[in-house]
Amino acid sequence: MGDTVIDIENAVVSYREDVALRGVSLKVKSGEFIGIIGSNGAGKTTLLTVVNGLGKLLSGRVWVLGHYLTAGNGHSLRKKVGYVAQVQNIDPRMPMNVREVVMIGRYGLLGLLGRPGRHDWKVVDEMLALVGMSHLAQRPIGHLSGGEQQRVAIARCLAQEPELFLLDEPTASLDWKAQTDILELVKQIHDSRHLTTLFVTHDLSCLPVACDRVVLMKAGLIWGEGSPGELLTDDNLSRLYDMPLSEVKKRRSENILV
């Protein structure tokens, strides 16, 4: 399959009576940075769970990093896939510090009976330095702001030494400054490591400028695919979000939609 790392063919995923993906096909090449856009409930997060082996396929075929996904093999695949979710609601009294949380990223690699060694802690410290969080390494995780927690999540993800980097609305519910910082960090990581990256967002203003390709999703289907310049026209966005063209133009001029 050449340098293709993800090949999804006609994937159908359902949660009880709701069909979340209705026959999605997507190919991703190594090192690509793909933005996945769509309104809430479009199936963006489900698409990511299919890629990291947590989604349950009703039909279709999913091939990721050399594995055909079946019910039993998602476990070994997940060790190679870094996943950053939205800001989590972490108990402020949780007895774990930032360094320990980043170390969780190494646990899958270490295996069931493995213990973190000096090398693992070195990797953790390097990743904390990379995301600019070394000074907070010993702080309880529950005491961080949303933006800081997302930096830690990215460090944890990188400590995993992943081959795929999945980000699911990582900037949702963050303030403008924190959003800008996280987007800059993601771009910097992609530029320096050439990690294949899938970035999901419903908010176009949070779409990283580093995207090679955007995938537009609507009602469980891929509605459009192409370069950001070609695809993100006022007309397409108006149809994607079911929003009057005048409103899309107004929002884009106000920089609410880029």
Binding site: L54, Q88, D91, P95, M96, V101, Y107, R156
Partner: protein, 282 residues
């Protein structure tokens, strides 16, 4: 104070039971507190009580009944809550009341004296036999041993189950393993502490430790220390004031929690949480 009572075999058995039960219950309690599942634990404790009464009624070993029903309740509540089909509060509420109803039904159906049933309800650590201690010892060693061996998997699952799954940890297996250990601990401690009180010895020491530290390892150690102290202090109180030991153990653990909560450093606002604004900032 005449402490010659502690030279008797039954009291030494009780001291050893309090030590082993305190460690097992308090270790399991750390899972219960950090995973925010106290009601699943309460449900399992009452299910164990009902199962033990079923054993007494039908004439088989009450501990087998206790273990089976405690695990059955976890097997029903766990997946229901997990899949989001019912809210955890609803599923636990239904199973909890069913178990309590079954317990009183079995008690009512039991012929003859109910003293055996009441012992399971209130606990009677002073009548623990060598066999009870061996069972408690095995459970305590297994619980502590598994925490030691699978510490990193347990830590990740406790912190965030979906995140643990996403890095390749079998978090669902770990969760059900934790429920299994909780059931085993409740069963082993049932005769000593009693079905109505056992959950306090699980929850209170861990909840007290939770107030005092930001380190999970230290929380396990503190919780175990509080569990053992509650058991021993409760025994001493029981002897000094001639009152039921299960009750004094639970009251002691509650007082420890109260003191920890009052003096918890986590209640104080840390200096670095309130950063002063630099000059010129809004």
């Amino acid at each position: 104070m005449d402490l010659s009572i502690f030279e008797y075999q039954f009291m030494q058995n009780a001291i050893l039971s309090a030590f082993l039960g305190g460690i097992a219950c308090a270790t399991v309690g750390v899972f219960v507190v950090l995973m925010h599942m106290p009601f699943i634990g309460v449900c399992m404790a009452h299910a164990a009580f009902a199962g033990a009464l079923l054993g007494l009624w039908l004439g088989f070993n009450p501990l087998i009944g206790a273990f089976a029903l405690s695990l059955l309740s976890a097997a029903i509540v766990g997946p229901l809550a997990d899949r989001g089909e019912l809210s955890p509060e609803t599923s636990v509420g239904v199973i909890f009341s069913l178990m309590l109803g079954l317990a009183f039904l079995f008690m009512g159906l039991m012929p003859g004296t109910k003293s055996g049933a009441l012992e399971l309800l209130w606990g009677s650590i002073l009548t623990n036999t060598r066999g009870d201690i061996i069972f408690l010892g095995i459970v305590a060693v297994v619980v502590v041993g598994l925490v030691f061996i699978f510490y990193k998997e347990i830590q990740a699952t406790i912190f965030h189950r979906d995140m643990a799954l996403s890095v390749g940890i079998p978090a669902t297996v770990i969760l059900y393993g934790i429920l299994f250990l909780t059931g085993a601990t409740i069963t082993a401690s049932l005769r000593s502490i009693g079905g109505l009180l056992i959950f306090s010895l699980i929850l209170n020491p861990a909840a007290a430790a939770y107030q005092l530290t930001y380190s999970m390892k230290r929380m396990f150690l503190l919780s175990a220390a509080f569990g053992v102290f509650s058991g021993w202090m409760g025994l001493l109180m029981s002897y000094l004031f001639n009152i039921p030991s299960g009750a004094t153990i639970v009251v002691t653990s509650s007082v420890i929690f109260l003191i920890a909560a009052i003096f918890s450093p986590k209640r104080k606002v840390k200096g670095w949480q309130v950063k002063p604004l630099a000059g010129g900032e809004l």
